[in-house]
Assembly symmetry: C2
C-alpha cells in the first residue's frame, strides 16, 4: 500500500491493486484490514515514522548550524517526491481526517526538531539574534518540500539540489550577518 500510495496516489489505488501487489487474497487482506482506508492509514503511519527517523542529524553531533546544514544536504530522490508531503496534494487523502492527521503530525514532529536546532543556533551566535525559529523552521521545511515539486515538474533531480544549495548559501550569509552583531 505504501508503494502504491507513492506511485499512484490514494484516489487511484484500489483494494484489488493492493492485493495484487502484496500477492495476497481477499480473505487474507480483509482478515487484517477493514479496507483501503485502514490500509492507507497504517502504510502512511509507517512512512511518516521513517521520515521523522531520517531527521536524526538535526539532533546529532556538531554545532547547531552544522547539524541543520547536514540534514538539509541529505540525498533526497527529488523526482519521486516526498512520500508524506505528496499526500497533501492528493484531493481524496487531504480531505480524509485520519490521513491528514498522520501527515500533520509527521510535519509537526519535523518542525519541532527544526525549531530546536534553530533556537540552539541563535543561542550559539550562528544565526542573527532576531531570528524567529518557528518561521525559519517552516522556511527550511518548505525548501525541501518545494524542491520535490520543482524536481517533479522537470522530471530531474537538479532543481532539488539547487534549491538546497541556495538555502545553504543563505544560512552561511545569515551566519556572517550574525557574526557582525558581536
Amino acid at each position: 500500500m505504501a508503494e502504491l500510495l507513492w506511485e499512484r496516489g490514494y484516489a487511484a489505488t484500489s483494494p484489488r491493486d493492493v492485493m495484487s501487489r502484496a500477492g495476497v487474497g481477499q480473505g487474507s487482506m480483509y482478515h487484517h484490514f477493514t479496507g483501503k482506508h485502514q490500509l492507507a492509514v497504517e502504510a502512511l503511519t509507517a512512512v511518516a515514522r521513517d521520515m521523522t527517523a531520517a531527521a536524526s542529524p538535526l539532533d546529532g553531533d556538531g554545532s547547531p548550524l552544522e547539524r541543520m546544514k547536514r540534514y538539509l544536504a541529505l540525498p533526497r530522490p527529488g523526482t519521486l517526491g516526498c512520500r508524506v508531503g505528496r499526500m497533501t496534494q492528493d484531493p481524496q487523502a487531504v480531505t480524509d481526517p485520519e490521513l491528514r492527521t498522520v501527515v500533520a503530525t509527521a510535519f509537526d514532529t519535523m518542525l519541532d526538531r527544526w525549531e530546536h536546532a534553530i533556537t540552539d543556533a541563535v543561542a550559539a551566535g550562528e544565526l542573527p539574534a532576531d531570528t524567529d525559529p518557528g518561521d525559519l523552521a517552516r522556511t527550511l521545511a518548505a525548501v525541501i518540500q518545494g524542491g520535490y515539486v520543482l524536481a517533479r515538474a522537470r522530471g530531474e533531480q537538479q532543481p532539488m539540489d539547487a534549491a538546497v544549495r541556495g538555502a545553504l548559501a543563505l544560512l552561511d550569509a545569515a551566519r556572517t550577518a550574525a557574526r557582525g552583531e558581536h
Copy 2:
C-alpha cells in the same frame, strides 16, 4: 476543467464531471475538445499563464531585492495549493508528457524571472557577490511551493505565511552580509 483539476486532481476528474460543472452537453463539449486530455492541457495552459502574469512584481519598480521581497510577500491561498505545482504530485498528470510540459514551461518562466532579479540584486550589492542566481531562484520558488504543502498538511494558512517570513528574514540577513563585503 481548471476548477476540477484544482479540487479533485486529474485522475479523479471525468469528462462527465466537466460537462456537469460547465453546464454543457456531450455534443457541445466534444465539438470543442477531443476529450479529457485536451481539456486538461488547455485549462492548465490558461492557469499557467495566470501564474506567470502574477510574477510581474519581479520586473516592477524598486530595488531588485525589494522587488523579490514584494513578490514573495504576495497573498497566496496556502490551503488551496498552487494550481500549477499541485499537478506535479498528481501521478496521472505528471506522467502525461503534454501536461508535464505545460507545468515545466511555467516553472522555467518563473525561475528565469527570479534569476534576473537575483542577478540584478547581486550587481546592486544587495546580495553577496558569490550568490548563485540559479540556485537561489530555485530556493525561493521552493519556499512558495513548499509553503503550500505545509499549509495543506495542517489545513491552515499560517505555515505558508511563516515560511515566507523566514525567507524574507534570510534575504535581509544576506543583504547585511553583502554590505559587510564592501
